[in-house]
């Protein structure tokens, strides 16, 4: 509204378009309402997202909470050397990446498939029920969910009982699912999908509603069947949303979560269940070694940053929509 008014009333001087710093101030004046509105959020962002970066200095200190900044002992890259010199950290890194990848790939696929299927359902009541049931687990705390999973997978749990019933295993030789390290990623992946599949579909379903119904009608007239409508209209329709979400999630690749691994992990599967966050808890926070925790956190942030840029760049080259 504002710009329209100015453009219409001051047509002649438009020839000498303000440039550089002047343009900036003209724009600033024009959009002052927007600027003022964004100020609180800018303050919030600086205060909570940028100021804490100062805390990274702790990673290079032998940090003692009581001492002031200038009294801390500086020890350079000591904590980073400890991290990367420890074979445990490399194992933990592997686990983190593997579990994130599992989550990302299968979480995406299952959510999109479920969203596509739900979109095809014409009976509203049935659709609602399926949706509600599928995203209910999302609201269960991991503590409770982990207990459910543990009980299900225990030697006298339902899965073992079924296996015995069908004769796949002998009674007395029930499988200790959580005690077999190699199974952990599968269990983790499956439980994450169970918990979040419904929740993840919401955004795709929302994206699907924005697709113009005229396209479907046109396709119908052209004789497209359901599957064809799905692949040629619905999927391309939500493509941009999928890609933006994918890029954002790639940025979180080093965040494979904490609760499921912590709650389902035990001494036997530790080689596959321990991720960076648990490592930090054990060797950093639990030992009041804040410097180590921050060094690991810094590493995570830097890697996430790089990943995000790479993913965004790839999307850009492929001519897709992207974050920035």
């Amino acid at each position: 509204m504002e710009t329209n008014a100015i453009e219409t009333t001051s047509m002649p001087p438009l020839k000498e378009k303000p440039k550089g710093i002047k343009l900036f101030f003209v724009k600033l004046l024009q959009q002052r309402a927007l600027v003022i509105m964004s100020v609180p959020f800018l303050i919030w962002l600086i205060l909570f997202k940028y100021v804490p970066i100062w805390g990274w200095t702790i990673a290079f200190q032998d940090y003692k909470p009581a001492l002031g900044f200038w009294d801390q002992k500086w020890i350079g890259f000591h904590h980073f050397e400890f991290l990367f010199g420890d074979d445990r950290f490399l194992r933990v890194l592997r686990n983190t990446l593997a579990m994130s990848a599992i989550n990302l790939v299968f979480g995406f696929l299952t959510a999109i498939i479920l969203a596509l299927l739900l979109n095809e359902i014409r009976k509203v009541a049935f659709k609602r029920v399926v949706q509600t049931v599928s995203y209910l687990p999302h609201f269960i705390s991991w503590v409770v969910a982990a207990s459910i999973i543990q009980t299900t997978l225990s030697p006298d749990g339902i899965i073992n009982e079924l296996l015995v019933w069908f004769g796949f295993v002998n009674e007395g030789n029930e499988i200790l699912f959580l005690g077999i390290p190699e199974y952990f990623w599968t269990i983790f992946g499956a439980s994450s999908i169970w918990k979040d599949i419904g929740w993840n579909t919401i955004v795709y379903l929302a994206a699907m509603t924005t697709i113009d119904p005229a396209q479907y009608e046109a396709a119908e007239i052209d004789g497209a069947n359901r599957l064809q409508k799905m692949t040629f209209i619905t999927l391309p329709g939500i493509k941009s949303v999928v890609i933006v979400l994918l890029i954002m999630n790639i940025g979180y690749l080093l965040e494979s979560g904490f609760e499921p691994q912590y709650l389902l992990g035990n001494g036997m599967n530790v080689d596959y269940s321990e991720n960076i966050d648990i490592f930090v808890l054990k060797y950093g926070i639990a030992q009041s070694n804040f410097s180590l925790s921050i060094a690991a956190g810094m590493f995570k942030t830097v890697v996430s940053f790089i990943l995000l840029f790479v993913a965004n760049n790839v999307a850009k080259r492929m001519g897709e929509s992207r974050l920035f």
Partner: protein, 568 residues
């Protein structure tokens, strides 16, 4: 358009305002507690006209009771009448390190702080004030109760910053309940005719025989607690089986004071081999290694588990459930557990019963730099340590919560026992005064010969026994459970797990790495095919050999020797 602009502007202003107020709201929440409670309540009068009534705060780093004021309880009110001081108690909710860290960062503390596991951080932060002069001037009872034990609490700079929570006074009266042991279901003992069970082999045989006779009942021979930090319930038995008390990661020789770790010892191998054999026979519940604590407790109350090793405080919930059920229906008594003094060999004397130990130096209570009037606080502590007040906080009021017979022995009538339930404990103040303060240890003897702790008093313990309890104890010719065990021996360094370790030190690193190794390899060894046990043990020893165990042992030996020296 003008209108729109005004609207937008006011909207923006409103947003900013709400953001600002939200921020400040949080701030005041974080800070108002220490400052507000420092303020005197200003209510003059009462029995001590010279002293104005004041309220101080105590923060307790152990989650426990509800927050509240001591003067809302009967005991607390009486103490307030004596001293004019009321304490507002606040207990840990959530994560201890976060809470303490916030205090340290803000440099604002409650008047009195019990930092529990975060002691080292608080000491490093210089949060406590030295107490030496205060005690010298205002603490005759503190000096009487703690005596030279205070020297052990001194920091490296020679000053005293914390008081230990409990101190042994007078003769040591052992707890009538067993603190730890190998537990067995009573029906197993009954069927075997109440045999004397002393060794691990006898214990295992008893369980095997019972299971063999009751094949169709789907019984579990042995389960073990392994969840998270509670893993020690599975790792500690070798130490006990060798006849040592719970010194954490080490066994300390009473003569030479040499500390020796046992995680890589023959004893551990023998213990794990026993479990491995049991597992091969299908008698060990392999889910032990994946169950969490709740599942473990649930299994103990399921009636299907024949035996387990654990500390009583850890299985109290389960034991109480079984006990209550047996009270209502005596036929369920056979599912309750009975503690046994199991060792590897009959020649080994067991050490399950806690003896009078040394002072735990990495826990305690201190007055912080934020306290306005430390003198009033230390006077309160001193007053609390008077014997009459120790009786008040432990036994209560004569005629109301306890009685005295002709011989001067304290006891409780059945009526009083029934009356004193959890709600009464809270209202009367037993709950608030059961811990949180400098006090006599529960096993202390009062000057009139009675036990300080109510549960320790033999008369009270006898009252708590059911008919079935008396019967089974009678079969073994004892009056208390602890009499099943060897008489405790005084070990000045005990418990070695209480030796204060510096944060980020090699000792803590050793413990963390050892825990990780044992948590990984013990299950492997127990669940391994019996033929492969040896090779897994060798793998484990290879990994274990990489740790600086000698350094850890040396450090512990030095600490133990220093403790013994301090007692002399």
């Amino acid at each position: 358009m003008k209108k729109n602009k005004v609207l937008l502007l006011s909207l923006a202003a409103a947003l900013m305002l709400s953001a600002v107020t939200a921020c400040s709201g949080n701030n005041s929440n974080n800070t108002d507690k220490p400052t507000a409670t420092n303020a005197a309540t200003g209510d003059n009068g009462g029995s001590e006209p010279t002293k104005e009534k004041v309220t101080y705060t105590i923060y307790n780093g152990v989650a426990g009771s509800k927050d509240g004021n001591t003067n809302e309880t009967t005991i607390g009110k009486m103490l307030e009448d004596q001293t004019g001081v009321n304490f507002k108690l606040e207990f840990l909710v959530g994560d201890l390190n976060t809470k303490i860290g916030t205090m340290i960062a803000a440099n604002e503390y409650p008047d009195v702080l019990i930092p529990d596991a975060a002691m080292e951080e608080v000491m490093n932060a210089g949060a406590f004030i030295p107490l030496d002069e205060l005690i010298e001037e205002h603490g005759p009872n503190i000096k009487r109760v703690y005596g030279n034990k205070l020297d052990q609490m001194r920091s490296a700079d020679g000053k005293l910053y914390i008081l230990p929570i409990a101190a042994q006074v007078g003769e040591f009266i052992p707890d009538p309940e067993a603190g730890a042991g190998f537990w067995i279901q009573r029906r197993v003992l009954e069927e075997a005719g109440y045999p004397v069970v002393k060794t691990l082999d006898q214990y295992i045989k008893l369980i095997e025989d019972y299971e063999a006779k009751h094949k169709d009942e789907k019984l579990t021979g042995l389960i073990s607690l392994t969840h998270d930090w509670r893993f020690f319930a599975t790792a500690n038995p070798p130490m006990h089986l060798m006849g040592y008390p719970n010194d954490g990661n080490v066994m300390i020789n009473g003569d030479t004071l040499e500390a020796k770790t046992y995680a890589g010892d023959e004893a551990t191998k023998k213990w794990l081999k026993t479990l491995n054999d049991l597992n091969a026979k299908g008698l060990f519940d392999k889910a032990s290694f994946v169950d969490n604590y709740d599942q473990y407790i649930a299994k103990l109350t399921s009636h299907n588990v024949l035996g387990f090793f654990d500390y009583k405080w850890q299985v109290d919930n389960a034991l109480n459930v079984l006990k209550d059920a047996a009270r209502k229906d005596p036929s369920l008594d056979k599912y309750r557990y009975f503690p046994l003094p199991i060792t590897f060999d009959e020649s080994i004397t067991d050490a399950y019963i806690d003896a009078e130990g040394g002072v735990v130096t990495n826990r305690g209570i201190g007055i912080t730099v934020s306290a306005k009037d430390p003198v009033r606080i230390i006077e309160y502590f001193d007053n609390l340590l008077k014997e009459e007040n120790q009786i008040l906080t432990s036994w209560g009021i004569k005629g109301e919560t306890y009685e005295v017979n002709e011989e001067g022995r304290y006891y409780r009538t059945q009526e009083q026992i029934d009356k004193i339930n959890e709600a009464f404990n809270e209202e009367f103040g037993f709950k608030y005064y059961s811990w949180n303060w400098p006090m006599y240890g529960a096993n202390s003897t009062l000057s009139d010969g009675n036990a300080k702790g109510v549960a320790i008093q033999p008369e009270v313990f006898q009252m708590s026994l059911t008919e079935a309890d008396k019967a089974i104890l009678g079969k073994y010719g004892v009056q208390t459970y602890s009499q099943m065990f060897a008489k405790p021996v005084f070990r000045p360094w005990y418990p070695a797990w209480g030796f204060a370790k510096e944060q980020n030190s090699p000792e803590i690193m050793w413990e963390t790495k050892k825990d990780e190794l044992t948590k990984k390899y013990y299950p492997k060894m127990v669940l391994a095919d019996p033929g492969k046990f040896e090779s897994v043990w060798e793998d484990y020893m290879k990994e274990f050999g990489k740790l600086d165990t000698a350094g850890y042992e040396k450090w512990t030996t030095e600490k133990a020797k220093a403790k013994v020296e301090a007692v002399k």
